[in-house]
């Protein structure tokens, strides 16, 4: 069965490449990008598979055991658009196109001057021949970094101006995971790819790491009462856990002034850094919009993009005036 599915995947990838990508690359004199184009098709196909898995598992959860019942799903549509742009590779491709030349130039300069960045395997040589262990360690490191990226996006006003778009959804569903301002996506891309390059994440692990994080994130945004139980909620981030991160009203306490439950995959980061909040109650989600422009942008992709930039500008101006972060 696995062999059949693998063959089917490879045949589909080859067919799409042969019909859509290869002729264009040759016609444009870009034969050098043939391998990249072929792997790009794989990235898109994996995105489609991810969507199929998410839809077939998480949509029934939302229908059968919803955390909250809605009158309609119109508000969800914009999140579907974000998800398609993300999973079908359009946003990742744009991020890659913007970042790759800069990273390549820096990497080239360093290595030309005999500065080869130390990688994890230089300290733990055994990892070279233990791909599974290596995968788990890289997952832990990246999840730790994601915790801090996420927490900082709530801490700095200018960053929150962008990240607030993600939190403005009051009908949070598994589609909401990808609802991010494009600039926020770009910053997240620099963060994730930069660290991956710095610590030397094996390119062969990269898609696996990304898919693992993305599927858990899809699940954690799902509108469902499902939780992993008292113990399980401490082991892996689930819908109940993450719902408190999106709560309309934050839990009381100074330590939650910027939010709670920032972890992406493993809740112990919140436990270690004092931002964990677990409660059986399922709170409503969203943020308190205080302006007409924010209300108007709630369900509109372009208005959200514009609003994010306007709020960013205001936050940076306010910072300049006060001289504070």
């Amino acid at each position: 069965m696995i062999t059949f599915l693998t063959d089917l995947f490879v045949a589909t990838q080859g067919w799409l490449f042969d019909r859509l990508v290869q002729p264009v690359l040759f016609a444009l004199g870009l034969a050098s990008y043939v391998e990249m184009g072929f792997e790009g098709i794989e990235f898109v196909l994996i995105g489609i598979l991810e969507l199929a898995i998410a839809y077939s598992i998480m949509r029934p959860l939302e229908a059968l055991w919803p955390a909250e019942r809605w009158n309609g799903r119109k508000a969800v549509r914009v999140d579907v658009l974000y998800t398609l742009l993300n999973r079908l590779g359009i946003i990742p491709l744009a991020v890659f196109a913007l970042l790759a030349p800069a990273f390549m130039a820096l990497d080239g300069w360093l290595r030309f001057h005999d500065m080869i960045p130390r990688q994890l395997e230089d300290w733990l040589p055994g990892l070279d021949t233990h791909p599974l262990l290596s995968f788990v360690i890289y997952l832990l490191i990246l999840d730790f970094a994601e915790y801090w990226r996420h927490r900082l996006s709530h801490t700095f006003r200018w960053w929150w101006a962008l990240h607030g778009i993600h939190h403005s959804q009051r009908q949070m569903s598994f589609w909401t995971d990808s609802r991010n301002h494009l600039l926020d996506d770009l910053i997240a891309g620099v963060w994730f790819a930069g660290l991956s390059l710095l610590i030397g994440v094996p390119p062969g692990h990269f898609i696996g790491l990304l898919v693992t994080l993305r599927l858990v994130e899809n699940l954690s945004h799902t509108n469902t009462r499902l939780s992993f139980g008292r113990l399980g909620d401490y082991l892996i981030v689930g819908p109940r856990y993450h719902r408190w991160h999106h709560a309309l009203d934050l839990p009381p306490g100074k330590r939650y002034r910027h939010g709670c439950n920032f972890a992406i995959l493993f809740p112990f980061w919140d436990a270690i850094f004092g931002t964990l909040h677990l409660e059986q109650q399922l709170p409503p989600t969203g943020i308190h919009e205080d302006s007409a422009e924010a209300l108007a942008a709630r369900d509109d992709f372009w208005l959200q993009q514009r609003l994010g930039l306007v709020l960013l500008w205001r936050a940076l101006n306010a910072r300049r005036r006060s001289g504070a972060l």
Partner: protein, 318 residues
Amino acid sequence: MRLRLTALLALALLTPALHAETAIVLNSVDESVSFIDTRSYQETGRAPACKEPHHLMAMPDDSAVIVACAVSNELVFFDPHTGREQKRIKNISDPYQLGFSPDKTWFVANSLRLDRVDLYRASDFSLIARIPAEKTPSHMAFDKASQVVFITLQDSNEVLAIDLKTRQPAWKHPVGPTPAGIHMTPDDRYLLVGIMGADYVEVIDWRARRTIKRITTAKGAHNFLPRGDGRHVFVSNRTIKGSISLVDMQTLSLVESYDVPGGPDDMEIRADGKELWATARFARKVQVVNLEQKKISHSIRVGRSPHGVSFINHAPRQ
């Protein structure tokens, strides 16, 4: 006791023969090597290699198969008989394509991503010179006297000649779009360059620095492997439909072609000249071409993006 000794002796005699039938295949995206029993055409095992391995090559004396690890900056050596890892040499910066000069003085590593060619002393792999080589240095070939290494520059559509005495670039020669593989004819007169962005092999009289001919093969002309008879060379045409062409290096003409789907890339040929093995980059397979029947006899599943195949029982590299 005597029986046990006899059994041990028999095993010792038999083992190398068994192991001599192992093919090592490099899976670039899976970052692993596959081991294939060349008699049953079955993958018998897989081992982790390193970060983003591209290309493998046998040591000139066949004592090891070297895998170039672009991202982890190292070379990994595998025993060609058993497939066991022998050693790793670290701090070989971003090796992509490898080559030894015919006199075994030089070990050359191209860094495709970082626009650079590194010259190492072959005896101990110590770095001697680092030469900027824009853009995207890909494959390489040497002259017979080991005085010049020729590098295809994939994105600037040129062939770069580096003088190994002065360790300086000597000249560049413009060629067709996206040159990839490069091969020196046995008479040391012509360079054959696979023009991947088109459908031909460009023939360069390298002493005169002049293109003298184009041999049309098929779209995606990519890599070379000599048949071992001192006269013919195989050219892989790396597209999804894919084919491998046989070129006569004396008449500089196409002899015949075989359909090899899946993006044929690197090749290896049996010592008896009856079978040609090719990694199919886009099909996760190794395609075995029966050269007598002129068609594929076996397709062997391996890992993602297979990018190199080697076995010890191969035809001479000429």
